[in-house]
Symmetry: C2
Subunit: 281 residues, 2 copies
Amino acid sequence: VTFTKVSILGPGLLGGSLALALRRNFPQVRVSVWARREEAAREVCGRGMADEATTDLKTAVAGADLVILCVPIGVMEGVAAQIKPHLERHAVVTDVGSVKAPVVDALVAGLGTQFIGSHPMAGSEQVGLDAARADLFDGAVCIVTPDEKADPARIEAVGKFWSALGCRVATLSPAEHDEVVALISHLPHLVAATLVNLVCARNPDAFHFCGTGFRDTTRVASGPPEMWAEILDGNRRAMAKSVESLIQMLREVEQQLHNTGAVRDFLANAKEQRDKITTRN
Amino acid sequence: VTFTKVSILGPGLLGGSLALALRRNFPQVRVSVWARREEAAREVCGRGMADEATTDLKTAVAGADLVILCVPIGVMEGVAAQIKPHLERHAVVTDVGSVKAPVVDALVAGLGTQFIGSHPMAGSEQVGLDAARADLFDGAVCIVTPDEKADPARIEAVGKFWSALGCRVATLSPAEHDEVVALISHLPHLVAATLVNLVCARNPDAFHFCGTGFRDTTRVASGPPEMWAEILDGNRRAMAKSVESLIQMLREVEQQLHNTGAVRDFLANAKEQRDKITTRN
């Protein structure tokens, strides 16, 4: 990468992992981490994860070629407004938010063509700096989501950055991104939580009998509720469509449960598709 | 265990793993494996998994104190009818089927009090002898499902057998069992397959963007379609109730997607319950 200073705003699982990955892959790049809380900044320093850790946004972004917003999507707009006066003119700003249309709309409105959205699809049900790992992005898909007026040079720079960190980079419009992740991430998350809450409501004793299937199927339900409530709200339009399609498909198969041939074909199709998914992330 | 000969009917993932686990834990017990196909019997022999491997049911159950049906649930009744004339009087017959009410009804009708149903909740999306593992049952829950008229001595013998293999044993009526597994196993299975088929129907390109969340949430959809179609058919009454409850709960949360407080509480409850699930199996 051609960046000399990268500024990471927010030292959570993703921000912390970014700092570690930059350290590992590009020791020559100066890494600055901004944290809201003094203790968090001290912890980043104490762990030697960055060259600079600060609670001052101006210090964090000063001289940075690349600024990465790793804060909750609900506060991105506010943080963007605060950094705007201090950004280098040539700087590129990106983010790691899981919803793109509302984030890109708000940040392009705030930062203009300096902002290019991205969504590295890495993470786990864990949160915070303690869960940060240098290899979190290895082999992960990162979706870069420029809007129509985005600067081609900055789109390219952001894509190259994620590639250099080990991601497989794809480009989608913000709206396409939100439709895709509703299907493959947000809906599965909501369904996992619903499966757990259903057992809870119908027969909590059944939790004693859970096997590996239930455990894996519902793992993501251990994710941070606050963050996921924001994501589901941010993507509520695509979510409503996905939930409706899911309900319709469940009803169709429910009416066929006695028809083992039809159910077998339904399950065989799912198996065929599922067996193809071999990605590490 | 006080058994001198155990007969395993059907050398699939569960039957094969049972043979291996018996070998490991109780080398003094004589293990006989019945297979429908000659090659399968030869393979069991070749791997040294049993003292005897045969395609003759009479030979397999002759002298056996315990007979374990590890065949698909659709053929259990037929196999039971064939072994009945050859069973020792004191023998206990059990099975490993994932649905219990119809299986227990049919096998008690066929074998009387010699039959005690059980369901070791172990397995994976893999199938067949190649996937068999001596430790498959270590720490797994096994639900023993006697009907009202079941012989207390045989209930105890079956429970002790699974305990000796390393299972945590619980007892439920066949109907209770079926309600519980509909919630924690059969519904999650159907939902996993539906999530995959939904992506397939709505936007197959989205498969390229799958992360660990989708992978784990849908892992069970790689299970054997034929077996699962039989299971879902066998448990269709409890399944219909579970699917309806799931749809109702999904609709409720869908209508609240804009209400981040309500969604956060919903997700927080799921997280609290999910975090408690620590079982290995």
